[in-house]
Amino acid sequence: MDDIFILAEHRQGELRDITFEMLTKGKTLSEEMGKPLVALLLGHNAGKMADQLKDRANRVMLVEDPKLENYNSEAYHKALVNLIEQENPLAVLIGHTAFGMDLAPSLATAINAPIATDCLDVMVVNARFKAIRQVYGGKLNVEVHLKPGQPHLITVRPASFSPEDYSLPGEIVNVASPLTEEIASKRFLEYVEAAAGEVDITQSPILVSVGRGIKDQENITIVQDLADSLGAALSCSRPVVDKKWLPKERQVGTSGKTVKPKVYIAVGISGAFQHVAGMKTSGTIIAINKDPKAPIFNVADYGIVGDLFKIVPSLKEKVKEAFA
């Protein structure tokens, strides 16, 4: 009763980072509320993962079933609705990832629970759950409270919390799977890996990265020239790939590559979280954007407010002089 649950996320036998990020936040909530922290793990041959979670929660509830090996929303629903009804937790944290985006909203609807999605932070004030969300591509934050109801479902934006080191005396509790037969209406078939491209942007010590601010495919040469003058690789944000201006292998972000060059130069990129999550640990980040309020400036070390069409060519000339 009234526990703080976090739903462990895993894929292909590995726990994903978001799991540890949520546990860290969950631990704070559990301490503040004086309630146990519980990790829910649904999977198959998941013993190794359960062990990894054991000292990070007061309890690991493990549901083992071959039908839970790969994510299937219907199977997960059945298992979770059961567990939630039995345990009546106060809150369930789920990642705002391809997994959680698929699972959490319909789960909340199924159990008529209040839900807030894509939250950067969660807190409890006067026994009320509050969350901070972002709107307009990260240009504005919103503080919301959830309507009363139990459990409170919160989907947590990846990389919002950094995992901390701590140890809890956890135990693993095995829960019988309620799944009796295969889910017929929805079947996972297989994973497909992205094809390796010609250029591996993760290997380049400098990246010049271009976003939608470039306006047209023809203009990309301007940024390519700058990259060439630096011996850097050219990378980009998602819309540039969506429009087929550059191949997918060049995309930085959650659904592209995670990069960590010495220097990352973002040109005409607004700084949506899905982009930032893929580059924020770069050594030095330089952002060029005409909008002084662009969220990219919140992660940049150096910011240049101005028109990329003026700045980039001039920068290229200076670079050529300096590094000739």
Binding site: A108, A116, L140, F188, V192, V241, V263, I311, K318
Partner: protein, 264 residues
């Protein structure tokens, strides 16, 4: 194949100056340019492509004020057959859950095999309406769909985009809600002529009572979250802003590059 597409009219804010309004709970929308939500544009294109391949109809639905007719007309010009707009003062302040309630009531009486939404709305970004709608209608769903391989009988084979370039392939029974990811197709160009051609097409308008929704199910009352305030994101450690002439800035960047290394 009868397909319904949910489309939202949103303000273009990537390059605009955002001003918090006097309530402190929203933004001043005067002066902003609006357009179809980016992801919904891909959803409309996908629906029209499916109709071209399998036959059937495309109905576009939007909850929003009269100006949303522009968005619906744009979708009709792309190949939509029917358009419905849902509007009522009682819908104001709806969060993702309440929006899904209104949409589901409008969709319930219609024939459909597929319902397409965007993965997320550019403004609120709940990433919630599609799967919520599916559960309310009691049907299947798959989110972040970046490919519809084929539809055979009542089974669709779709690709879902996961993280880091990975995809999963799954089969799901129709009817179903699919939330469409950007890049799945190349949305066709909409000309002014094209919009003119559909200018006279009727857009059905439905309100709270037409939809059989109780006042406490929509708007703020029907929402699961309540906005307390909006505020500008705190600037992290803050970037050092480089100022001066373009030449000065370029010179500064060169010295930063020399210092930080990595130049080949």
């Amino acid at each position: 194949m009868d397909i319904i597409v949910c489309v939202k009219r949103v303000p273009e804010t990537a390059e605009a100056d955002i001003v918090i309004d006097s309530t402190g709970k929203g933004i001043d929308k005067a002066g902003l340019v609006f357009d179809i939500n980016e992801w919904d544009n891909y959803a409309v294109e996908e629906a029209v492509l499916l109709k071209e391949k399998y036959g059937g109809s495309v109905t576009v639905i939007s909850m929003g004020p009269e100006e949303s007719n522009e968005t619906l007309r744009r979708a009709l010009a792309m190949g939509g057959d029917e358009a419905i707009r849902l509007t009522d003062s009682a819908f104001a302040g709806s969060d993702g859950h309440a929006i899904a309630t209104v949409l589901s009531q409008a969709i319930k009486p219609l024939p459909y095999d597929l319902i397409l939404t965007g993965v997320q709305a550019e403004d609120d970004g709940y990433g919630q309406v599609g799967p919520t709608l599916a559960k309310m209608l009691g049907i299947n769903h798959a989110t972040v769909v970046n490919g519809i391989e084929r539809i055979e009988g009542n089974t669709a084979r779709v690709h879902r985009e996961l993280e880091g370039g990975l995809e999963e392939i799954l089969d799901l029974e129709l009817p179903a809600v699919l939330t469409i990811q950007s890049g799945i197709n190349e949305p066709r160009y909409v000309s002014i002529m094209g919009i003119r051609k559909v200018a006279k097409k009727e857009i059905k308008v439905l309100g709270l009572t037409d939809l059989g929704i109780k006042p406490d199910e929509a708007g703020e009352n029907g929402s699961k979250t309540v906005i307390e305030r909006v505020f500008l994101p705190p600037v992290g450690e803050g970037a050092e802003m480089l100022e001066g002439t373009v030449e000065n800035i370029a010179e500064r960047v060169v010295s930063i590059l020399k210092e930080k290394g990595g130049v080949a």
